[in-house]
Symmetry: C2
Subunit: 194 residues, 2 copies
């Protein structure tokens, strides 16, 4: 049955994502993956043609899920509220579910162009979610930035690395509030410099 197969594939991808995230592509053997799933290596080859294909699929699945969930957040509220909600949710997913995502997405420079392109596409879709809110905030005058691109990049970088230092909800909220400073929304701000 197709559902059974789908579940199996999903279980493999989840485990693979975990392991590749923990130790990096080169640091994980397919036997490691198989061991954690309590099957043998040969079984993995029944579902995936190669290690490369497995890791690419793992990245793609994880990335798609993640963006899906961010896109599913309510669209109501001011840009400030919505951006804060996005940041919180992103950080929460990173910390609680995919703490190793940073290493997983940090793909070696010398990978085949096709795979790099697919990952780039994921990133673009993900970026668009944040970009839309930031641009709306700029139009409404709620946000202030030096330039949109570096702002989004900084947001993204900080969120990706969050699992390294953040553990609990207090940390998540603290980081989200800190990142709001990047769009000029802060506890007390003073016009100066630049």
């Amino acid at each position: 049955m197709a559902r059974k197969r789908g579940e199996r594939v999903r279980a493999i991808l989840t485990t693979a994502a975990e392991l590749f995230g923990e130790r990096g592509y080169g640091g994980v053997s397919l036997e490691d993956v198989a061991d954690r799933l309590d099957v043998t290596k040969g079984s993995l080859y029944y579902y995936f043609a190669s290690k490369d294909e497995l890791v690419t699929a793992a990245i793609e699945t994880l990335g798609t899920d993640w963006t899906d969930r961010l896109e599913a957040l309510p669209v109501a509220g001011t840009p400030t509220e919505r951006l804060r909600a996005l940041l919180r949710e992103h950080i929460r997913i990173a910390v609680r579910e995919y703490p190793a995502a940073l290493r997983l997405f940090l793909v070696p420079d010398d990978w085949p162009e096709e795979q790099r392109a697919r990952i780039k596409a994921l990133r673009r879709r993900h970026d668009a979610v944040f970009r839309a809110v930031v641009e709306e905030g700029l139009r409404s005058g709620e946000f202030t930035v030096v330039a949109v691109d570096p702002t989004l990049q900084a947001l993204h970088a900080a969120m990706s690395q969050a699992p390294v230092w953040v553990r609990d909800d207090r940390g998540i909220d603290g980081l989200a509030d800190t990142l709001m400073m990047l769009v000029g929304v802060g506890p007390v701000s003073r016009g100066s410099g630049a």
Copy 2:
């Protein structure tokens, strides 16, 4: 002669840092390193007892150099000026000299405690440079933050990932200015929210 040996060791470490940064620890063999240096694998073992020792030394040397250079920056000027100079210099070093540092420092979770401790020490020393300036700015009232720790973490995360998107000097300055927003110094700021 000791100097000759020092230079040799340095050349090896530089090359190793490059390669490990590009493809990660597991993705690089000692023959890869030897090849890029136009020597053979056996030669590396004359200087380093194991792959682990080599990569640890590479990380340590690169990290120490980097922090040394930041600490050598002039101490004159307002916190705003000094922080901006620090950010710019850090990003410049990252982009121009160590574009692969992020992967190099992103050490697998299951490494021996001793090595993790040494890397943590590097990070602490590095962090102290930025922390001092940020705290000075807070005391003088020039800076505003939600909390010091997440601010420093966000700064650091964004700087580490800079080489992924930033190429030229315009990009470096744009990112540095954007990051100044994190301490409440921006082009135009509005008091609101939190």
